[in-house]
């Protein structure tokens, strides 16, 4: 074991904070979101954006309007695209986080949650993986979403924000609290949704 005094989460949290945004869609306060790609794709929860668009505020205070490109209530995920020209998106110099497949997570690994619990942006919570990777089925059908359950203290406002490993790699999108446990939607489910969205947006892609 290492001396505890040499261990802090501030470096990892700092990197993660740069990729975490606040998402407000007019009603009932704000949620969180994750900058997923350098083209400005922001991933959040479906229950955070109920309308056609939302305002996205970066960690440094800059903000832009975004349109809801996809909303999947069964997976509780939404994808936002900036209402900006490509060059303006480039000008934002967005910080894209690394993504990790949560199937490689081990129970007990340290996880970090960033978001805006009770509307306070940039808040860090630390915990451990409780159950690494579970499919969620309804009525015995094919799995709709995969989840990661974490022993980490979340609050309203964490919704849509990142759950990341000790290296700052995103493993899930924090979505709800069940039985005291944080439940995050797996990055695999996000990737599947983004593939579907890209296929729809460029008809030539098979």
């Amino acid at each position: 074991m290492l001396p505890l005094s040499s261990i802090a989460a501030s470096a990892v949290a700092g990197g993660l904070r740069a990729s975490t945004v606040q998402v407000s869609s007019g009603q009932r306060g704000a949620g969180s979101g994750i900058i997923w790609r350098s083209d400005g794709v922001v991933v959040t929860n479906a229950h955070v954006v109920r309308g056609r668009g939302a305002q996205v505020t970066l960690d440094d205070g800059r903000s832009f309007d975004a349109v809801t490109a996809l909303r999947d209530e069964r997976c509780d995920l939404a994808v936002l695209l900036p209402e900006l020209a490509g060059s303006d998106v480039d000008g934002l110099a967005l910080r894209v986080p690394q993504i990790r497949d949560p199937r490689t997570l081990r129970v007990g690994e340290i996880v970090l949650a960033l978001g805006a619990p009770w509307g306070i942006p940039g808040c860090l919570a630390l915990g451990v993986v409780h159950a690494a990777h579970e499919p969620v089925r309804r009525g015995g059908r094919e799995a709709e979403a995969e989840i990661v359950r974490a022993d980490v203290r979340l609050a309203p406002g964490n919704s849509g924000g990142p759950l990341a490993d000790a290296a700052g790699r995103i493993v899930g999108v924090n979505a709800m609290i069940v039985g005291g446990l944080g439940v995050a939607i797996s990055t695999r489910t996000v990737a599947r949704l983004l593939r579907d969205l890209d296929a729809r947006r460029s008809p030539r892609a098979a």
Binding site: L2, A9, G14, R106, V107, V128, V129, A167, G168
Partner: protein, 314 residues
């Protein structure tokens, strides 16, 4: 400024935690002995599994799921509702859990609660928030150290191990002894109860055969008798029980038992450990305006319905 080595250290700690859960998880089993989701248990010695008594509702043909997904059948060796421990015998063929030294129970120590409320191992992390001396549970069980935890004990975690950063067991987690906070039963207490249950199938408890009620003793009388301001009035005497044989009467007010003041029935209960069984213990009492001392030979409590059954706790 945060550095790269700091980030690497966090990853190293994360890997240590995962390895600790993996290691402890090998000896953490699922106990299928109630209708709800299974609870956790620990391979404590070869062929000996420890579980939380309140989660074990049956005595025979208990299915125990092991880390590799296989399962074995276990049989109850004994239960002690007063410490919320049950001991099962089952040929798991697995190594018992590694144990941490007793001095590892320190306030501020980072700990993991490991459980297996089903097929997979699950974990939560926190710190030991208080360590105290010996205490008595609400049913009179003796626990060697008071260990309070600042961590979440989830459904099905009772009976699972509390482990240190190396995956070594410090004790057994249970929600059955306190509603206020997470509590762990230290390894030393588990060893003692396991020894007794394996040898005798039960933990012997003393009894005197009295129903009692706390009563206020008037200030003037308390001064005259040199007693405290509360005593225990006898409201029922079990016929032919130890107290009846000693001549205790309805209406007597017990002031001290073996020299210890008793102002609450649980205080007397706490004095009825196995060490006093068969001993003539002096009870100072108030009868008809006089203080007198009567010796009661403490009996052993007869077998009764296990008190852990049917309770709806995790």
């Amino acid at each position: 400024m945060p550095s790269a080595s700091e980030a690497t250290a966090l990853e190293a700690l994360s890997n240590d935690f995962a390895a600790a859960v993996e290691r402890a998880g090998q000896a953490t089993v699922a106990i299928h002995a109630r209708r709800r989701i299974p609870a956790s248990g620990i391979i404590w010695r070869d062929g000996v599994i420890v579980a939380a008594n309140h989660t074990v509702h049956i005595d025979d043909d208990i299915t125990v799921s092991l880390a590799d997904g296989s399962s074995v059948t276990a049989t109850l060796a004994g239960r002690d509702p007063t410490t919320d421990l049950a001991v099962l015998r089952g040929a798991t063929g697995r190594a018992p859990i590694g144990r941490a030294p007793a001095d590892a129970l320190r306030v501020g120590a980072i700990v993991l609660a490991v459980g297996r409320p089903g097929a997979s191992v699950t974990a939560s992390m926190g710190v030991i928030s208080a360590v105290g001396g010996e205490w008595r549970t609400w049913q009179g069980g003796r626990i060697d150290r008071f260990v309070r935890l600042d961590l979440s004990v989830y459904d099905g975690f009772s009976g699972g191990p509390l482990v240190d950063g190396a995956g070594r067991a410090l004790g057994v987690n249970t929600s059955g002894l306190s509603r206020a906070s997470a509590i762990a039963i230290p390894g030393a207490t588990v060893d003692r109860v396991v020894d007794e249950l394996l040898a005798r199938g039960r933990v012997a408890r003393g009894y005197v055969g009295l129903g009692m009620q706390a009563v206020q003793i008037p200030e003037e009388a308390a001064r005259r008798f040199g007693s405290g301001d509360v005593g225990l009035m006898v409201v029922s005497v079990e016929p032919s029980g130890p107290a009846d044989a000693a001549g205790i009467l309805l209406g007597d007010v017990v002031l001290t038992f073996d020299g210890e003041p008793v102002g609450d029935p649980t205080e007397l209960l706490a004095l009825l450990g196995p060490e006093r069984i068969g001993k003539a213990v002096p009870a100072k009492l108030l009868r008809a305006g006089e203080v007198r001392t009567i010796a009661i030979t403490v009996g052993e409590r007869p077998e009764s319905v296990p008190q852990g059954r049917g309770r709806r706790r995790r």
